[in-house]
Symmetry: C2
Subunit: 217 residues, 2 copies
DNA sequence: CCCTTGCCTTACCAAACGGTAAACAATCAG
DNA sequence: CTGATTGTTTACCGTTTGGTAAGGCAAGGG
């Protein structure tokens, strides 16, 4: 009750981290400020000293995740050049972002359910530009015959994104339905499903550099 | 304060209905028993008279949805005979079940997040048999060359199911990303994505099978 | 007729909630 | 040393929560 104060010089970020984990796992309404305070090892008013209300804490948690999102994605968009590489790069980054820490996916899903109107705005700000860019690549790929022509690019990207988030958030549960290495099976099929429903089967008469059937990562 | 009691002879089912809607929209922890009572037009102890605790009400709500689920799905499984028809039938029923009332999808998603351990059991009991049957059809379809050979049948079904649930639950939000008739675009692409990632492009020994391009439902 | 039974009410309770006030401790400038 | 600033504590507040107690009241059987 007296020690463990020195080891955490930056209480604020510790609160943010603990709140992220707790909100993701038990939900915003299911988490008391006391829970957050306990997880960090301080008292409730100490939490309210850094975030002036519970609502402000929620906003900060969401914002911290969005910063992370805005940092990592754009880098990938411009890195790869070839179509399949570009797909792998963007899909891989998206998948890794949520699979690395499923709490991120759970948080997004909960916000989607709890505050749909607010999330509409977030989507338009943080996701729309990124989605439009990827959809643009798909359109180009369709002209070039690399992709199925009946793909609705924007809707496709939205669905793949949603599926990546949902499957990361629910991996523990859906894993109970699969025998063997459930996580690996789920990841592989998720990647295959996304690729297979986008890329045309015949890679358009280009026998140069055969690189068949590579699973992502 | 005195009328409106006659019009609801069956308070119990009214409570169940209101609780389903409220739990789906605001979450279990975000819904007070008072909210449920108000929505029905009775007092809080009246609610607790029919369901002896809030937890019991939650269980009853989930159970009522599962009954609905168990009723509708099996009928469809045995109805259609041809492969594409069978896919359309099962997929269509699944999609309709959640798109008809998005609150069902939101409820499932929330339970998945709030009580993963309990949902593992529910999945094994209510979903596993159905999933295994569909996976069996897919295996047969793979042998016959109708389906891609690299599909992981069980994982495929799990993912499509999850995607149908998530997209129904989040339709309002993801709809904000799509121009035009967002709902129709999302539904069509969802159906196309599911079909395209399962069915082989060349329907084998079928000379010139015109793709019917029929959207589900 | 009375008495039980099922449904619902008002009145109430202890606990937990988000948030505030005021005091205490450490740091640092002057 | 003094005084101000910053981060934290203890103590407390009003409200809301899930749940209980006890009683009213209509219906039905004896």
């Amino acid at each position: 009750m007296v020690a463990a104060r020195k080891i955490s010089p930056d209480v604020r970020s510790a609160v943010l981290l603990a709140a992220t984990r707790l909100f993701a796992q038990k939900g915003f309404d299911g988490t008391a400020l006391q829970d957050v305070a306990d997880a960090v090892g301080v008292t409730k008013p100490a939490v309210l000293h850094h975030f002036c209300s519970k609502e402000a804490l929620r906003a900060a948690v969401l914002d911290a995740m969005l910063v992370h999102w805005r940092d990592r994605l754009p880098r990938l968009l411009l890195a790869a050049t070839k179509s399949l590489d570009r797909f792998q790069a963007v899909y891989g980054e998206l998948h890794r972002f949520f699979a690395d820490d499923p709490d991120r996916a759970r948080l997004v899903l909960r916000e989607l359910l709890d505050r749909p109107e607010e999330m509409k705005r977030v989507m338009k700000d943080a996701v729309r530009p990124w989605l439009d860019a990827v959809a643009g690549y798909i359109h180009a790929g369709q002209e070039a015959g690399r992709h199925h022509r009946d793909v609705d690019a924007e809707a496709y990207v939205a669905h793949v994104m949603l599926l990546v988030v949902a499957s990361a958030a629910a991996a523990d549960v859906t894993g109970a339905l699969l025998e063997g290495d459930a996580k690996k099976r789920a990841d592989q099929e998720l990647s295959r499903l996304s690729r297979s429903s986008l890329f045309s089967p015949a890679p358009k008469a280009s026998p140069r550099r055969k690189k068949p059937r590579r699973s992502p990562r």
